[in-house]
């Protein structure tokens, strides 16, 4: 039976429009439906990294790839042209070790360390405690991780992401921070096997509970991996009369990853640990890189001699915010804090290849500031940029497709209105795999703030589960912009944006609630000493009040207020 084309056409059109509307109403992970995949940025300053900067150039991007980059590159007629006057284009930045894109590890137990309950303690290396090398980042990418967006907005188009918990947490993959489906993000996998020596839970927590126990355990795992391959080969060749080797998932996963030429990442931040990591590469006979590296200024020549690259943690050591003011750190600690940012410059001098990674940095906006610190301590801006782009690409074996602005490479670009390492510079656009993301400024506070809302606040509210408390640690800039964290029994989240305008405040965090991430918005008024407002999440609204717990009155004050009060 023939259906009238008109009707089909009509329905098809409606469906198409609906689909487009639906798609464009989705999260930012979906490209703006209907945009051309052809872009050109005209008359822009290009910093390719693989070569000297080019003034007044044109970049042409299509199908996710850089088609041309030259002073007078031809612009196709159907390209979306972005005028680049006053702008600069850099390669998209790489965060060399993180877990962005993966769901976070479950919140840590209430007490640090301590025994694991319920008889789960390992009794020896055979129990493979805290060992999950089969986990692969590529398999676990979750598009609902808000950090994909926040990292991208800070200029990072690519991350090397890996599960984080345990001695052998898993395998790292190179992910580009945009895509319709999880699979779109994966650039290469596996690229690395991180190995940690610090995951022990302390005395009483099961094997291993000491650093030397961890090392002994890890030696055994590598030996077993090597032996098991041989044993299985021998057994498969001719099983008659031989004891069947026990299947060990961990060894199998490690063997496979090594076959794929994954780089072993060894933790090493202090001089002791860095030196130990250098020895471990010999003992374990693996290709390795060191992550942490902050004491590198002390041992740069030794690292260079071993030709081992270093991923430098950008969370420079500094005094804790909650520390005891009477506690003076040791001279060693002070020297470390003072000199750690000079490590990248020392690496350049000694010829150590290095890249930067975010480490424990909560907000990606702090990353470039942290890089700037190392520039202030002697690193050239060119070397700094390379450590954020081509060097990590080289270290992880994707320099043939990422890390610089060259014809044919993946179109990962950061477009700014000035020098990348200048605090005032704003990022205008980010291209990931050729998809354009315009970075808009967050809402500016309308009125100057009334009072200073900075401090640690205790919020009290009632959820369907009962009365609760959270701690909000706020820092207010002079223009009223808010940064900080929110901590509850569910964990800690960083404030994505917020401000105090006159006496009205608001701030937003993104939290994993059940299976997915959701925005949690706090709005309210600040009267100078208390907060009052409501929390809005997933359609629910809960009222709260906030007070600052007293902590700093002197003994004299207290004694005087209690004189003569006999309770």
């Amino acid at each position: 039976m023939r259906v009238p084309l008109g009707r089909i056409g009509f329905f098809a059109l409606i469906t198409a429009i609906a689909a487009i509307l639906f798609l464009s109403a989705g999260t930012a992970a979906f490209a703006q439906g209907g945009e051309p995949q052809y872009f050109a940025i005209r008359g822009v300053k290009v910093v390719p990294v693989s070569g000297p900067p080019i003034e007044d150039a044109t970049i042409v991007v299509a199908r996710g790839v850089i088609l041309a980059v030259a002073k007078d590159a031809a612009i196709p007629a159907d390209a979306w042209v972005i005028e680049g006057k006053g702008l600069t284009v850099y390669p998209g930045l790489l965060d060399a070790l993180t877990d962005v894109g993966l769901p976070p590890a479950p919140a840590p137990a209430a007490s640090e360390g301590g025994p694991r309950r319920g008889g789960e303690s390992a009794h020896g290396p055979e129990d493979r405690p805290n060992t999950t090398p089969w986990r692969n980042a590529a398999d676990e990418v979750s598009l609902s991780d808000k950090r994909i967006e926040t990292w991208r907005e800070a200029g990072f188009t690519t991350v090397i992401s890996s599960p984080k918990t345990g001695f052998f947490p898993g395998q790292a993959a190179v992910l580009d921070l945009a895509g319709d489906r999880a699979g779109n993000l994966v650039v290469k996998s596996p690229v690395a096997i991180p190995v940690s020596i610090r995951a022990t839970g302390g005395f009483g927590s099961g094997f291993p509970d000491s650093l030397m126990g961890v090392l002994g355990y890890e030696h055994q795992v590598w030996l077993d991996t090597e032996w098991l391959e041989k044993a299985e080969a021998a057994y498969n060749k001719n099983p008659k009369g031989l004891a069947r080797p026990r299947y060990d998932r961990a060894s199998a996963a490690l063997a496979d990853a090594l076959e794929d030429k994954a780089l072993v990442l060894l933790s090493g931040n202090s001089t002791l640990d860095i030196r130990r990591a250098l020895e471990l590469t010999d003992r374990w006979k693996v290709n390795a890189a060191i992550y942490g590296g902050q004491a590198g200024y002390e041992v740069a020549d030794e690292i260079a001699a071993k030709k081992i690259p270093v991923l430098v943690d950008l969370k420079w050591p500094e005094a804790e915010k909650d520390g005891d003011p009477d506690d003076t750190p040791s001279l060693r600690t002070l020297r470390f804090r003072d000199r750690a940012p000079s490590t990248p410059a020392a690496f350049t001098k000694s010829g150590v290849k290095f890249a930067f990674y975010s480490g424990a940095t909560a907000s990606p906006k702090d990353l470039l500031k942290a890089v700037k610190k190392s520039i202030d301590a002697g690193l050239t801006p060119e070397a700094a940029l390379r450590a954020l782009t081509l060097s990590p690409a080289e270290i992880f074996g994707v320099a043939d497709r990422l890390g610089s602005i060259e014809k044919g490479k993946i179109a990962n670009l950061v477009v700014t209105d000035g020098d990348l390492f200048n605090e005032k510079t704003k990022i205008k656009f980010v291209f990931v795999d050729g998809r354009r993301f315009e970075i808009r400024e967050p809402d500016k506070p309308k009125d100057p703030p009334k009072g200073d809302i900075t401090g640690k606040w205790k919020l009290s509210y009632t959820t369907p589960e009962g009365a609760e408390e959270s701690t909000v640690d706020l820092s207010m800039a002079t223009d009223g912009t808010l940064t900080g964290t929110v901590t509850s029994h569910r964990g800690t989240a960083t404030i994505l944006s917020g401000y105090l305008s006159a006496d009205k405040f608001n701030f937003v965090i993104n939290f994993l609630i059940e299976q997915s991430y959701a925005d949690v918005k706090f709005t309210g008024t600040f009267d100078g000493t208390t907060l009052k407002g409501n929390i809005s999440v997933q359609g629910f609204s809960i009222d709260f009040t906030g007070v600052k717990p007293t902590g700093n009155s002197s003994l004299a004050e207290l004694s005087s207020t209690h004189q003569g009060d006999a309770r």
């Binding site: 094997f207 000491s210 126990g213 044993a231 640990d273 130990r276 250098l278 030794e302 020297r335």
Partner: protein
């Protein structure tokens, strides 16, 4: 390759220096002449107003009058005493992280040599107390604990340079209340085996039975290999059992923490059963009760001077222990088991003159030649003799006195502790600290204001020139290491009380 080779290779990796490009030792050691001292040689009596010539890290000459070679640094020790550097046979300094792998009854897989912390300030403090060599031991949480190592207190050198070359590695056993967890329990966990002294014995016997079988499997394999067989699969290497095989083969010393007379005899019996020798008993506070058995077995005893009554098994401890055992023919040393005690081992040794009437030289031996013999390093250290390492301590007084203060401590012919210099350097270090604190404060205060006053600054700002690091003898710069959260426990497993 044979088990032996692979074990030796593993051992070599465990504490060999990392590469040719490692930081060079701080220059060739200078020629030093110590003059006019009362020299307590320990091996051949006391030399009044004597001299010691040090060259290339060794004792080149010892005598009444030695000519000053050209270019030598002269130390005038008039009125002062020189003795061999103190050797602490039971120490837990210079360890990164916990000294105990306490999770399992047999933790021989752990090797303390891999977690040496060359930046531990206690190394310097013990140097200031005259210690030049220390036996770094695993704790006493397990019947069979981790592998151990002898180090020299080479303050200023990286960890790879601390191990005492040629000293046989060790392994720590523990008997009695600590491995059977009598005095504490970990909440939420079932009681760990062993809970009695009977279980302690069986833990050891069980482990050595396994080790013996493991050794047999490897011996059989190696035999086939030498017979020319091809396509053989070696047995799976077990890092927990390999150190025990080394014990069976006499390549690794057993240092066993113990208290009671019966457990001392128990271990001697077990050792005999499996054909190995115990090298030293540690603490061995009831050693005096079985001194003859110890002497007959040729096992060394390393004990405290006068600790007692902190546990039931320490209730019969007596300060005469060292003297009584010495008089019965046991090689006895006095140890510290704590960084604090190690700053005055010379004084602790002196107590055996009062408690048990040891002579001056016998008392000195307790912290010099005897521990050297126990650790198998007496060819190199322990006395002041030509050809031995220049490990020396200069005191302002007879060291066997509460009034003796170490003035200089020399290791491998280098002055690593100098009291005068230490005092002179204090002001400078205080100032450096003040400056760094002020600098950090200033930087922290600058941050919020940058938002207001900032205009685009030119990019060619001059960076701070990195400060020149201090000369070697001071604490090395940088480096903070996190510990895995355990040293708060001193009561339960602590320094193996």
């Amino acid at each position: 390759m044979s088990l032996r080779t692979s074990i030796l290779l593993a051992a070599a990796f465990a504490f060999a220096s990392i590469s040719a490009a490692a930081p060079p030792a701080p220059g060739t050691s200078p020629v030093i002449l110590i003059q006019n001292a009362t020299i307590l040689t320990v091996s051949h009596g006391t030399i009044e107003r004597g001299s010691i010539l040090i060259k290339d890290g060794k004792i080149a000459e010892v005598g009444a009058g030695i000519k000053v070679p050209a270019g030598a640094k002269v130390i005038d020790a008039a009125g002062q005493f020189v003795m061999p550097g103190i050797i602490d046979c039971h120490s837990h300094i210079a360890v990164e992280g916990s000294i105990n792998e306490g999770s399992v009854s047999v933790s021989s897989i752990a090797n303390i040599a891999e977690v040496l912390d060359s930046e531990d300030i206690d190394i310097y403090r013990d140097l200031a107390g005259g210690v030049t060599t220390a036996n770094i031991l695993h704790g006493s949480a397990n019947s069979i604990g981790g592998q151990t190592i002898v180090i020299k207190l080479r303050w200023g050198q990286p960890s790879s340079k601390l191990p005492f070359e040629g000293a046989l590695p060790g392994i720590k056993f523990a008997l009695g209340e600590n491995p059977k967890r009598s005095n504490f329990s970990i909440p939420g966990q079932p009681k760990r085996y062993p809970a009695t002294r009977m279980g302690v014995e069986e833990t050891i016997r069980g482990a050595f039975t396994e080790a013996r079988d493991y050794k047999n499997a490897w011996d059989a394999y190696n035999k086939k290999v030498s017979a020319g067989e091809k396509n053989l699969l070696p047995p799976r290497r077990d890092l927990r059992l390999e150190p025990l095989v080394e014990v069976l083969e006499g390549k690794r010393y057993v240092h066993s923490h113990c208290y009671r007379e019966d457990e001392i005899l128990m271990l001697l019996r077990v050792a005999k059963e499996f054909g190995f020798k115990v090298r030293t008993f540690q603490h061995v506070l009831e050693g005096y009760k079985v001194a003859d058995e110890l002497a007959a077995a040729g096992v060394g005893a390393s004990t405290f001077s006068d600790w007692w009554a902190y546990k039931v098994e320490a209730y019969d401890a007596i300060p005469y222990n060292a003297a009584l055992m010495t008089h019965r023919g046991v090689v006895v040393s006095i140890n510290s088991d704590s960084a604090a005690e190690a700053t005055h081992l010379n004084q602790e040794a002196a107590k055996s003159m009062k408690f048990g009437a040891l002579t001056h030289d016998e008392a000195l031996k307790l912290v010099t030649l005897n521990p050297a013999m126990q650790l198998g390093i007496d060819k190199r250290v322990g006395t002041i003799d030509v050809g031995k390492d220049a490990d020396l301590v200069i005191y302002n007084h007879d060291p066997l006195s509460a009034y003796a203060v170490a003035q200089k401590t020399i290791v491998d012919g280098r002055v690593l502790f100098d009291r005068e210099k230490d005092i002179a350097d204090r002001a400078g270090l205080e100032n450096e600290k003040k400056d760094l604190i002020a600098k950090a404060k200033k930087a922290a205060e600058k941050k919020p204001e940058e938002k207001k006053s900032d205009e685009k600054k030119p990019d060619d700002k001059k960076p701070d020139a990195a400060k020149k690091p201090e000369d070697k003898p001071k604490p090395p710069s940088g480096a903070v290491h996190r510990d895995s959260g355990e040293e708060a426990i001193s009561a339960p497993d602590g320094g193996a009380l």
